[in-house]
């Protein structure tokens, strides 16, 4: 009556519906935890359906891989610090891409070597895409991981002739892709393609600087989805096609949001470093002057007259692990009757939404985490702004100076507040390497030092005042 295969396909359909429902529930922080659970149930359904497939004859190898992978995944998920979440996501991107590429490779070997079948139709093209995208995703993500973990330099790595080298490798990749797609039985060419894809992932990510990681991670996220999609075509499996498309779409949307928030094109982020070096000297000027240095005690005096305050966290807060100290400071200010909110720039941190997670971890209620468009109109009525470890996202040059590299980038208009405190290690420039005129404004007061120590001292000073 009903074919087992039909039931399996229906289970995949159910899984796809559960994934979409789960993602829909991510539209609100209240329903989101259940949404994640719904998606996990979808995955469970898909896995169980596959295990009963009649092609699956031997469970021991499956168990081996599943136990190792699940155990490692669980340990990583439970132990990773929230500040290291970008690294975790980079790792997940990379392994997802690699898994898809390996499945496509296994399918090819199984057909050509073991069964003597030559893949036909759309399958060879899909195999090529799966290995190419999956390979790039794996090594690209590992480089991103290394940059985020700072086990390698976060500065862009460039060398003379980089564009020529990459263009030649690009041409080689295209030639290999065509060769394998035309005749997938050439396993040597296939292995070479896999190797070159891995090399390409490294070469494409090394010239991208640390502060552009939000774009890179988002893009690699979408690649890991597209690789799963391609593998779906290899296996003619709708579950992979649908899920891969969802993830691909998600990554593309996030990539666009990140690029818009920096007012840069994707091409500029990915290839900007190649040509940028000679221009750097020309823009080094910018406003000069004396920034005024204050102590936490001076700041406490200003806070004592304030009624509203906005805290602007940046990557510096994450580096100093200051999120808990920041929440304690906010509590102290609220005890003094000051209304405190947080302003979150889309590219604050090293991945989309990173600051929100850190502050949520420190028990800051999410209704206090305001988006840029929501918070910007409120700055003229704000008494005190406290900038902690952020720089380029509060640089008013983005509004005013046409020649500035960040001109046109949407920023948090903190300079429009009554008083601005900036907690900063030193007067060093931000990632963009440009001076920030905010620091020289009359209403700006600098407090130099480690973000965590200064925040704690500030809290004590306010409490004592």
């Amino acid at each position: 009556m009903v074919d087992a295969n039909v039931i399996i396909q229906l289970a995949y359909l159910a899984a796809a519906v559960l994934f979409i429902t789960g993602l829909r529930m991510l539209s609100s922080p209240k329903s989101a935890p259940r949404g994640n659970l719904v998606a996990a149930v979808g995955m469970f359904v898909a896995v169980v359906a596959t295990l009963v497939d009649q092609d699956v004859v031997d469970y021991k190898w499956i168990a081996l891989g599943a136990v190792i992978g699940s155990a490692a995944g669980a340990v990583a998920a439970l132990r990773i610090a929230m500040t290291a979440m970008p690294q975790m996501v980079a790792l997940l991107n990379g392994l997802g891409g690699a898994a898809s590429a390996l499945v496509a490779g296994a399918d090819l070997v199984s057909n050509v070597v073991d069964k003597g079948i030559t893949p036909s139709g759309i399958v060879p093209t899909a195999i090529v895409l799966s290995v190419l995208i999956g390979g790039i995703t794996l090594t690209g993500s590992l480089i991103a991981f290394a940059k985020l973990q700072e086990v390698m330099t976060t500065a862009p790595i460039t060398y003379p002739g980089q564009q020529v080298v990459n263009a030649l490798i690009g041409l080689g990749v295209i030639a290999l892709c065509v060769m394998v797609a035309m005749d997938p039985t050439q396993l040597g060419a296939f292995c070479l393609l896999a190797a070159v894809a891995l090399l390409l992932g490294v070469l494409l990510v090394i010239p991208i600087g640390g502060a552009d990681m939000p774009v890179v991670i988002s893009l690699l996220n979408s690649y890991s989805g597209l690789a799963a999609c391609a593998t779906g075509f290899v296996l003619d499996n709708s579950a992979l096609v649908v899920s891969g498309a969802l993830v691909g779409a998600s990554g593309i949307i996030l990539t666009k949001i990140m690029c818009d928030a920096m007012n840069r094109s994707l091409t500029n982020v990915l290839f900007g470093a190649f040509g940028a070096a000679p221009e750097a000297g020309a823009v080094a000027e910018g406003p000069q002057g004396t920034a005024k240095s204050y102590t936490p005690e001076d700041a406490a005096v200003i806070f004592s007259n304030a009624r509203t305050a906005v805290i602007v966290p940046g990557y510096g807060m994450a580096v100093a692990q200051a999120q808990h100290a920041v929440r304690e400071l906010a509590d102290t200010l609220e005890e003094k009757g000051i209304e405190v909110n947080f302003a979150i720039h889309p590219v604050a941190g090293r991945m989309p939404g990173h600051m929100n997670v850190l502050l949520a971890e420190a028990d800051v209620p999410y209704d206090k985490l305001l988006e840029m468009d929501e918070v910007n109109p409120t700055f003229p009525e704000t008494d005190v702004v406290l900038v902690i470890g952020a720089n380029d996202v509060v640089n008013p040059s983005a509004r005013t100076e046409k020649g500035s590299p960040i001109y046109g980038m949407p920023i948090l208009d903190v300079d429009r507040a009554e008083h601005v405190f900036v907690i900063k290690r030193s007067m060093n420039t931000g990632f963009a390497g440009i001076q920030n005129p905010l620091f020289f404004n009359d209403n700006t007061m600098m407090i130099f030092g480690d973000a965590k120590k200064v925040t704690i001292a500030l809290g004590e000073a306010v409490r004592k005042y």
Binding site: F19, L26, S27, P29, A32, P33, N36, A39, M43, V47, D58, W61, L64, G65, A72, G73, A74, A77, L78, V89, L92, L95, A99, S100, L102, V103, A104, A106, D107, V109, V113, N221, G225, A227, F233, D236, N237, S238, A239, L240, V241, V242, S243, A245, L246, V247, G248, A249, S250, I253, L254, I257, I344, P346, P352, N356, A360, P365, D367, E371
Partner: protein, 97 residues
Amino acid sequence: MLEVEAVAALTILILAFFVGFEVISKVPPLLHTPLMSGSNAISGISIVGAILAAGSEHGATAIVLGVVATAFAAFNVVGGFLVTDRMLSMFKQKDRK
């Protein structure tokens, strides 16, 4: 070159893209990090292909590739869903005392 089955899969792909764009664009920036880790867990769906590769009847090379793929995909699925849950459980509203 292009067969009917492939066109059917292509249809699913395009429609899924549209659904993806609709659904994902409603996720607020507040939750973009859990969105990334959660979508990574979903892209661990390649575990389905990995299971077929590791458990079917074929040669050693294909099985080895399948086992490694299963481990990677399982890491994604388990690690992705767990870490997303850990993050989402931290998002709390202000308690109204």
